[in-house]
């Protein structure tokens, strides 16, 4: 049995062995891909091979892939690079989209966390200014999938461009740039078993794009800076290994069924929507998320109380707020996210630890009630 049950893959996923091997090989090879001599050409070859692997994962052409330092940079680049002054974003987007478009108009979501298509249609009709619509593929906190094909259809009718942050979708379920019909797609390697520090913005051939990173002509003048060769190699290898997606729905369903049976008052957010097969966002009634996370950590189970980027700060989840979840209930929500190496032992350990905590809290409540 492993020392820890790691169930926080939406924060970061451990590196897949194939990615590790590809990286070590690339780290041992010297060479700047822009150099014309042999070691430069070797490095260039590594980058090009990985570009094809990532393109295959994203249903794109290799020339449509622009490697970045990660999902955050890709999201920033899409918003800024589209050239559109008017931006519409869903209310449950990641901070790297929301902060990159501080003046954006928000598309509301329903109680299950799915964007309100009627509202999007009305927003699009309200102005003639050419817009960019940014809606994520899958939410990082709840795993709720967005109806991207419908978003694209409405956006096209209104002459708008579409960006899709697929950081939490790619490598878990099929994501297809041309199938979806979006103009820009953001990817991050470390969310599905590639390394941290590398991602990509996929820019559909013909979509407008202006880079704001200035310097050398790397990435066909779309992203200056010496390529993170080893990171890109690991990204490519992880993309190839993740091509079939994750098959963890069974594990997730067992988690949800067990936890709901233990605590009848518990609630899974977005349960009524189409969701990623790996993510559960669940509230244990009356027990603060921080308390749950700490208790689980002591039992060697790693989960989180929300997005990792903001998990240091004690603040309400903007995602749950947008879904109209009460403050008091949102404060009791934790995120459980499985990944490529999750085993049924991990799940059992989580369920047992969660049950222990629930019984302890229920007992002390009972004691307190008797004493009163």
């Amino acid at each position: 049995m492993r020392a820890f049950a790691y169930l926080d893959h939406n924060a970061t996923s451990p590196l897949r062995p194939a990615a590790f091997d590809a990286m070590v090989e690339a780290l041992r090879a010297a060479g700047n891909p822009s150099s014309v001599h042999r070691s430069g050409r070797t490095a260039r070859g590594i980058v090009d091979a990985a570009r094809r692997q990532v393109a295959t994962l994203a249903g794109a052409l290799p020339r449509e892939i622009v490697f970045t330092s990660g999902g955050t940079e890709a999201n920033n680049m899409a918003i800024g690079g589209s050239g559109r002054g008017r931006v519409l974003v869903s209310a449950v987007e990641h901070d790297s989209v929301l902060r990159a478009a501080p003046d954006a108009e928000l598309i509301p979501v329903c109680a299950e966390g799915v964007v309100d298509l009627g509202a999007l249609e009305r927003l699009l009709a309200a102005s003639n200014e050419p817009a960019l619509v940014s809606v994520m593929f899958a939410n990082n906190e709840t795993g709720v999938l967005q109806p991207i094909a419908d978003v694209v259809r409405l956006a096209r009718q209104a002459g708008a461009l579409v960006h899709c942050d697929a950081v939490q979708g790619a490598g878990k379920v099929p994501v297809d740039l041309h199938g979806l019909g979006v103009d820009y797609l953001s990817l991050s390697a470390h969310k599905f078993g590639g390394p941290t520090g590398v991602g990509a913005l996929v820019v559909r051939d013909g979509a407008p794009f202006a880079s704001d990173r200035r310097g050398g002509g790397q990435e066909s003048n779309r992203r200056a800076g010496t390529e993170n060769v080893a990171g890109i190699a690991g990204f490519g290898a992880a993309a190839a290994a993740a091509r079939d997606g994750l098959a963890v729905e069974g594990l997730r369903d067992r988690v949800e069924a067990s936890l709901l049976a233990i605590a009848p008052g518990a609630r899974v957010f977005g349960a009524g929507a189409r969701r990623l097969g790996n993510t559960t966002c669940i509230a244990m009634p009356g027990v603060k998320a921080e308390t749950q996370v700490m208790a689980l950590d002591l039992a060697n189970v790693c989960v989180s109380a929300g997005a990792a980027c903001s998990s240091g700060k004690v603040q309400r989840s903007a995602v749950l707020r947008a879904m109209n979840v009460q403050d008091s209930e949102a404060a009791t929500a934790i995120r459980i996210s499985c990944g490529w190496n999750t085993e049924s032992d991990d799940i059992e350990r989580l369920i047992a630890a969660w049950q222990d905590l629930y019984i302890r809290v229920a007992d002390s409540d009972l004691t307190r009630a008797r004493a009163a």
Partner: protein
């Protein structure tokens, strides 16, 4: 250390392009390894020990980088590399202070990412002064002093040039900037870990650092941002608010660890390594001078890092020479622009004439360069330069005492 022999196999060319990139030092790779495998946490995850362990590693690396440049660790932010650091420093400062000051001073020999950023700011309404350099590649301090006005928000001058390796007088530049109340940014991608840098003694306010130029990994760099007095920046990448809000995005723990380790090793070995490289540099020059005439070192030889030579071989076409010396990996200039055949703008700025600029090679020596490699390189260069000169009518004319420049070529 047996691992070092893995850097180059016998069938590979001799790597003499250490200003383009450097191999990852095996010790650096070793330090990075655990963070790829079992210590894989997200350093921003505060709820479990995987996250804490990663955060601790990132903070140790930050301190290692800070120590290399005499900074406080709170003043170091991680970026994806020196290009991003330079973009962030220049644009970030310019945009934050634009209501008060709108003038930037830089030099004509900066890296492309500095020049392109400055050109972009010009289009946005900023004024930019591009200082010339002297024949030796160094700026004239009096020209700098005259260029800085009360409208100057930032002076951006590189510490060490990437093509000719010359070291600018940082302390003197810092002093002028402080007197004139302009911020001083230096692109130290080629300098950090190679020459002593001290942000306090040199009055440096912002400094860009690259991982892969100092035997660390690609995809990581740092920007030093002074806290006292505090420098403010508009971030380029926004999101989760990591790196004190200056740079959002999940930090790549293994890459940060690699940069930190690379910085520590460079600092520890700087003195001995500089002496060793100076000997190799002298050996190479002596070897070439002994067997070839009409060669010329571009840029000041004294104020120069020992790991660089940039040599013009008169009457030889640089690209043909590069094609000939298949056993050596060298370049004709910056890697970013090495696929283009334009003569180097850095050499042009020194007043090197176009024909001579075309004959120049950048030779980078580094941590894994051996005496034997230097000797082999000298032999190979001599052989091919002689061969190309033997085929060159210009060389023949020069040997006959004809002044090539006096010839009026017929247009056709």
């Amino acid at each position: 250390m047996t691992a070092i022999t893995q850097i180059r196999r016998n069938d590979q060319p001799i790597y003499l392009d250490y200003q383009a990139t450097t191999p990852v030092d095996p010790r650096v790779l070793e330090a990075m390894m655990p963070y790829f495998t079992h210590k894989f946490g997200n350093p921003h995850s505060r709820s479990h020990s995987y996250g804490w362990e990663a955060e601790e590693a990132v903070e140790k690396a930050r301190a290692q980088v800070a120590k290399l440049i005499g900074a406080d660790e709170k003043e170091v932010i991680f970026t994806s590399g020196a290009t991003e650091s330079n973009n962030l420093a220049i644009r970030g400062v310019a945009e934050f202070y634009k209501d008060r000051k709108n003038h930037i001073v830089t030099t004509v020999t900066e890296h492309k990412c500095v020049l392109d950023t400055c050109r972009h700011l010009e289009q946005q309404g900023f004024e930019v002064t591009y200082l010339p350099v002297q024949k030796n590649g160094l700026i004239d301090l009096e020209v700098l002093r005259a260029a800085v006005t009360d409208k100057t928000v930032l002076v951006s001058i590189m510490a060490v040039n990437n093509e000719i390796g010359v070291i600018q007088p940082l302390a003197e530049i810092g002093k002028i900037c402080r007197e004139k109340k302009a911020f001083f940014h230096t692109d130290a991608a080629q300098a950090a870990g190679k020459i002593p840098l001290d942000v306090e003694a040199m009055n440096i306010d912002l400094m860009s650092i690259s991982g892969h130029k100092i035997y660390g990994p690609k995809g990581i760099g740092a920007l030093y941002v002074r806290r006292k007095p505090r420098i403010r920046l508009v971030p380029l990448i926004v999101g989760g608010g990591q790196e004190r809000g200056f740079r959002s995005g999940t930090l790549p723990t293994p890459l940060c660890v690699g940069l930190g380790e690379a910085a520590e090793i460079a600092m520890k070995e700087m003195d001995a390594e500089s002496k060793r490289l100076a000997k190799l540099q002298a050996r190479m020059l002596k070897g070439l001078n002994a067997k070839l005439t009409d060669i010329h070192v571009n840029g000041d030889l004294e104020h120069r890092i020992p790991g660089n030579l940039n040599i013009g071989f008169a009457y030889v076409e640089g690209e043909s020479l590069m094609m000939g010396i298949k056993g050596l990996s060298v370049s004709s200039g910056s890697a970013c622009t090495s696929a283009s055949l334009e003569p180097s703008y850095v050499l042009r700025a020194l007043g090197v004439e176009e024909d001579m600029a075309h004959t120049s090679l950048r030779i980078g020596l580094g941590r894994f360069t051996t005496e034997h490699e230097v000797d082999t390189a000298v032999d190979e260069l001599v052989h091919h330069v002689n061969k190309l000169r033997a085929m060159s009518p210009l060389w023949e004319m020069a040997q006959e005492g004809i002044d090539i420049k006096s010839i009026e070529w017929a247009a056709h």
